[in-house]
């Protein structure tokens, strides 16, 4: 009878502390995890916003150069002068020996590049990016065909500085 009275009723001493430690641990782990994932997501969103902004700035600059070339041509400037002024390459039809030149009559092709900077804004009017600028990872390559009908855009493409590398890790099934 005495033994029954001495038994503690309900929770023992220390059990509350153990439950609390477990609860606090859960709360801390989950809150830190949620904060870390939210911050990573925010960094991703900022990167997306920055790349979108940079792309449209480069696109806008490429369009400005295209419009300037068109205006200068209509004003009577020579293609070589214009190409030099805007840092573009100009190849006459005789210099080009591709499929396009064989199938169509034109005077020449203007080509230029505008860097898409991923960091702070800064555009290069010519040259495939810059070696000293680490922020530049891609560029917009433009080709304009100059013919009797005026300027025609034949290439307006975003290209990566490192080029395209195919992923050969996965073995594909050869279906024939």
């Amino acid at each position: 009878m005495r033994n029954r009275e001495e038994k503690p009723i309900g929770l023992n001493i220390g059990s509350a502390s153990i439950i609390m430690i477990f609860t606090i641990m859960c709360l801390t782990v989950f809150s830190v995890l949620s904060l870390v994932s939210a911050v990573a997501e925010h960094r991703n969103a900022e990167r997306f916003a920055e790349s979108t902004k940079s792309y449209y700035e480069a696109d806008s600059e490429a369009m400005r150069i295209r419009n300037c070339i068109a205006k200068e041509l209509s004003d009577g400037a020579t293609p070589q002068e214009i190409a030099q002024k805007y840092g573009a390459d100009y190849k006459t039809a005789s210099e080009n020996n591709d499929t396009f030149s064989k199938n169509s009559a034109y005077y020449g092709i203007f080509s230029y590049y505008v860097s898409v900077s991923t960091g702070s804004a800064g555009l290069e009017e010519s040259g495939k990016g810059t070696d000293n600028d680490n922020d530049v990872s891609s560029f917009i390559a433009v080709e304009l065909v100059y013919s009797a009908q005026g300027l025609k855009t034949v290439k307006w493409q975003k290209e990566d500085l490192n080029g395209w590398e195919p992923d050969d890790d996965i073995e594909l099934i050869d279906i024939q």
């Binding site: 009275e5 001495e6 503690p8 929770l11 001493i13 220390g14 509350a16 502390s17 609390m20 609860t23 606090i24 709360l27 801390t28 989950f30 809150s31 830190v32 949620s34 904060l35 994932s37 939210a38 911050v39 997501e41 925010h42 991703n44 969103a45 900022e46 997306f48 916003a49 979108t52 902004k53 449209y56 700035e57 696109d59 806008s60 369009m63 400005r64 295209r66 419009n67 300037c68 068109a70 205006k71 855009t153």
Partner: protein, 165 residues
């Protein structure tokens, strides 16, 4: 009996310490959760703002830099999330004899996208966080009013296809 009382007292002391410590830790953790939620909301807002800006930029380019046409196309293309499209600051083009729009506002439920032509021929797209304040009218109805002091979320420039210099 004395031993039982001392155990109860000890347990009470422990419970009090646990509650105190737990409330401090819970307050810190809840604030971390709140911060995470706020950061997640901001990133979702930024993503949406960038996506909507791209949408309007592409419509603007395909409309040849015509803001009136952009507003029409945007109104047709957008779903329920777009509340209204406002065009204003019209300028009269004397040579062509037509009215040209210089600015438009696309008002979404959670943000406002402003498309504005600049002097250099490019257009600036700015996205603002739209906040509405509810107020009660004299007849008992509640109305919402757009808060003018909205924060800018995102901004970018775009140039129309083959047109202005």
């Amino acid at each position: 009996m004395t031993r039982h009382n001392s155990r109860s007292g000890l347990f009470l002391m422990e419970i009090m310490a646990v509650i105190l410590f737990f409330s401090i830790c819970a307050a810190i953790c809840v604030s971390v959760f709140a911060k995470a939620s706020s950061v997640a909301d901001k990133s979702a807002e930024l993503n949406t703002a960038a996506a909507r800006s791209v949408n309007i930029a592409e419509i603007y380019k395909s409309a040849g830099g015509n803001i009136k046409e952009t507003a029409h196309m945007l109104g047709d293309a957008s779903g329920d999330e777009l509340t209204s499209v406002k065009n204003y600051e019209e300028t009269q083009n004397a040579a062509a004899g037509e009215t040209q729009l210089e600015k438009m506002e696309a008002i979404y439920k959670d943000m406002t996208v402003v498309l504005e032509k600049k002097s250099d021929g490019a257009a600036l797209i700015s996205v603002f966080d739209t906040e509405y304040t509810e107020y009660s009218r004299y007849d008992g109805y509640t109305e919402t009013q757009k808060d003018e002091s909205s924060d800018e979320i995102f901004t970018m420039s775009v140039r129309e296809k083959e047109g202005a210099l």
